[in-house]
Each structure stands twice: as C-alpha cells, then as structure tokens.
C-alpha cells in the first residue's frame, strides 16, 4: 500500500489497519511495508479525505503473495475460491473430501489478528508432515511448499508476512491424536498465534468421532461450530 503526497496526516486510516502498520509522522501517514500485508483494508474503508491511499500496481511477486494471502477479494491461482482458504467441509456433502475414517485439520497461522511470517507456517507444516498427512492440494500454502512430504516451503518467501495462512490437511483417524499433540508442541516455537480446527463426517448414528480424539489429545473444543447440514447434491434445482 502506498501513501500519496496528498496525505494531510489526519490519522483517520490508522485504526483500520489490522496489522497496526500505519502511523502518522511529521503530519504524514507512513506505512511500515515490512508489517503491511497488502490486505487493502485501509483503502477499502474509504475514510481518507484526500484519496491518499493507493494500491501499488507494480507489485513484486513477494508483495503479490502477501496480497493473495491477505485480501479475500483476490482469488489464488491454486483455488477458485476467494481468499486464502478452500471449500473444505463447506461442500463435503457433495465432494466427500472428508469421508469416514478421516478428519480434516486446519491450522490457521496469524489468526486472529496477528498476521504470520511464512517461517512460522513452515514450522507447523513440518510438524504435521512428520505424520505423513495429506496436505490439501487446493490450498495456497500447499502450493508454496517445495516438498509436500516434508512441509518444506519456498525459501524465497519465507520471511514474507500475511494476514493469515492455513496449513490444511486430511488425517486418518488413527493419527489424529498424535498430530494434534505435535501441533501443540510446535506452538511453543512460534512468534505468532494460530487458530486450530478439526472437522469430520457424521457416523451413521449421527455421532462425530472427532470428539473422543480431541479429548484424548488434551484439547477442548469450542461450544460453537460449523455444521454442513447435508442439503447439497450433484444436481442443482435450476
């Protein structure tokens, strides 16, 4: 994000930045580009009285990468889904991506509100890869891996920052407890935070087997959650 000379240093844009990357110095807004993740919130908030905030149209590949992971209105080339995520369990009643016997796990680094460097993303990816998990192929983080078996990431972008990035994978039920424990262990090595989640398909009796695994791994699940209520099918009603 760039600040034009028309800036009068009013500071109205400052609180809108989720990364706290804007400050007013000598009556001009200054953006710390190492902290700015190109999310575009300051611009889209439309609070600048002088139209002084502008997207840098000459983005380098690294800046564009930040934007892809941080601005939900940018579609990543590896997905047809806006933002840094995938359809995951939202369409599971149609795709059967997470069938019986497996769980889906997502570690969203930088969420809530802290942002993440990719070296932290790599630490988590490597910890999960140790259990031979299958990383979600249609996820922008997976597309940045140079080795999907080890979770190693492209070193060119390792110090770049994003609003958040999701390490997302499928895990056979018999490995879930170990992977969750590994994730807990690696959490102590991170500069940032992450939000962790897990999903699974209902058994025939309507129960969700993940709850026993969550307990065994020493985690507590939230009272609220997201439930696909099974109304999707291959043929839509036009």
């Amino acid at each position: 994000m760039l600040v034009m000379d028309t800036c009068i240093g009013c500071g109205l844009c400052v609180p809108y930045c989720p990364m706290n990357a804007i400050e007013v110095k000598d009556r001009k807004a200054v953006i710390d580009l190492d902290e700015c993740v190109e999310c575009g919130v300051c611009l889209k908030a439309k609070v600048c009285p002088k139209d002084a905030l502008k997207n840098d149209e000459t983005y380098t590949e690294a800046r564009l990468l930040r934007k892809t992971f941080s601005d939900p209105w940018v579609t990543h080339k590896s997905t047809n889904v806006l933002g840094r995520g995938t359809e995951e369990m939202k369409t599971n009643d149609v795709t059967n991506r997470f069938g019986k016997g497996v769980c889906g796990i997502a570690v969203e680094l930088g969420r809530p509100g802290t942002g993440t460097r990719f070296y932290d993303v790599e630490k988590v990816a490597k910890a999960c890869a140790a259990s031979n998990v299958e990383f979600e192929p249609y996820n922008p983080v997976t597309s940045l891996m140079t080795n999907v078996k080890t979770g190693e990431m492209n070193k060119e972008f390792i110090n770049e920052k994003a609003l958040s990035a999701i390490v997302e994978f499928i895990c056979p039920n018999d490995k879930v407890v170990q992977v969750l424990k590994d994730i807990k262990k690696v959490s102590a090595e991170l500069d940032t935070v992450f939000s962790l989640d897990i999903c699974c398909m209902a058994e025939d009796d309507g129960s969700f087997p993940m709850y026993a695994m969550i307990k065994e791994a020493g985690f507590t699940s939230s009272l609220n959650g997201k439930t696909n209520i099974g109304m999707g099918r291959m043929q839509l009603k036009f």
């Binding site: 009643d93 969420r111 209520i229 109304m231």
Partner: protein, 206 residues
C-alpha cells in the same frame, strides 16, 4: 476458508449469533450455480437477518443489490440473532431443496436440536480447538469477541478500541459504530446487532 468458525464470546452472547450460508462445489456442481445461489437471498431476506452478504461482493451495508451480483463461486450468507429465526430459514431452505450445500454456524447443541426437530441429517461438523502459540500478541479477550466475527481478520482490534472510545464520548452511536466495524468484513458475516450490544457493554452504557 473457515471464515465463520473461531467466533469467540460468552455462551449468552453466542446465543445471539447464528449464521446460515450457501455454497456450491466448484469442481462438482458449481457451473451456472449463480442463478440458484441467488434464490438463497430470496428465501432468507423476508426473515430480516441482521446482516447478509456474499463473499464475492461484500455485505448488505456496502452492496445495494446482493442478488444481482451473485456469481457461480459466491458464498452467500445470512446472520440471525435467535435460533427460532435461523430454524425458520433452514426449514425454508429445506423446502426449496436447491441442492446447494447449506452450512450453519452456531452453538453445536443448538444445531443438533434443530436437526432433530426438522428431520435434517447433519453431514459434517467442524469445531475450533482454540488459539495457540504466542498468546502475548493477542489483544484483550473482549476485543476478540468483535474481531473474530470476521474470519478473514479484516476487523482491526484498534478499530474496535477506537469505536468504544467514540461511543463513550458520545461521538458516535453504538449502532453506527457497529455498522462501521461490520462494514470491514468483506463477506457480510459480521453480526450487527450483537456487535452493537458488545460495544455498549465495553463502553459501559446500558
């Protein structure tokens, strides 16, 4: 994207936070699905959600005609403040039988009860296992109750702080402050009524 997961709050406050959304699978039934996803808005609008939106376009605070702009890869949302209205939305979507995937974000107990009452079979469930890592970086929990309503992280904790101060000083009404905050969420899943109540609490006004 787990954009409506990880919402934080007390159980009482989460009892005013129910989201239903529709999506199609791009590799399976996404083709020409815009015309079907549009019908989602026709079904939920008469129930007066506190917010509605489309991941492709924004929320109802910023987009005048949401149905007109729906695309095949849109994700369409409606946010309600009580279980009864959410349940009515689910009933109407079940009757319409559009074939799009329908997802409910709510207290898990509530969706289980809703399913029993309406003969709906829950397919897949996802829950949060909390926030981990360098927790020193987080703002105070009360701010997270607002900021986590935008799963994409577009609501800055500093914006919430600044709005609380403005509400305290009578510079903005809690309603207007809530709308300004929820406008930042590009999917329209911010709960405008709930945020208004949270701001009042934080500002110490009845």
């Amino acid at each position: 994207m787990t954009h409506t997961l990880h919402r934080r709050g007390t159980k009482e406050s989460l009892r005013t936070d129910y989201i239903v959304f529709g999506i199609t699978a791009q590799q399976f039934n996404g083709k020409d699905s815009a015309q079907v996803l549009k019908k989602f808005f026709d079904i939920v609008s008469p129930l007066h959600p506190t917010n509605m939106g489309d991941m492709r376009q924004g929320g109802m605070l910023t987009v005048a005609d949401l149905p007109a702009g729906v695309q095949d890869n849109s994700i369409v949302h409606a946010v309600f403040n009580d279980l009864e209205t959410l349940e009515e939305a689910v009933r109407r979507l079940k009757t319409a039988d559009l074939g799009i995937s329908i997802v409910v974000s709510s207290l898990c107990d509530d969706v289980a009860e809703l399913a029993k009452r309406n003969n709906v079979k829950l397919h897949t469930q996802e829950v949060s296992l909390g926030i981990h890592g360098n927790l020193k970086k987080l703002p105070a929990e009360e701010f997270l109750h607002v900021t986590t309503q935008c799963g994409h992280g577009l609501i800055a904790a500093n914006l919430v702080k600044s709005m609380v101060e403005k509400v305290k000083n009578g510079k903005i009404t809690p309603r207007k402050a809530s709308e300004e905050i929820c406008k930042q969420c590009s999917c329209g899943v911010g709960n405008i009524n709930r945020t208004e109540a949270l701001l009042k609490d934080m500002a110490g006004i009845a």
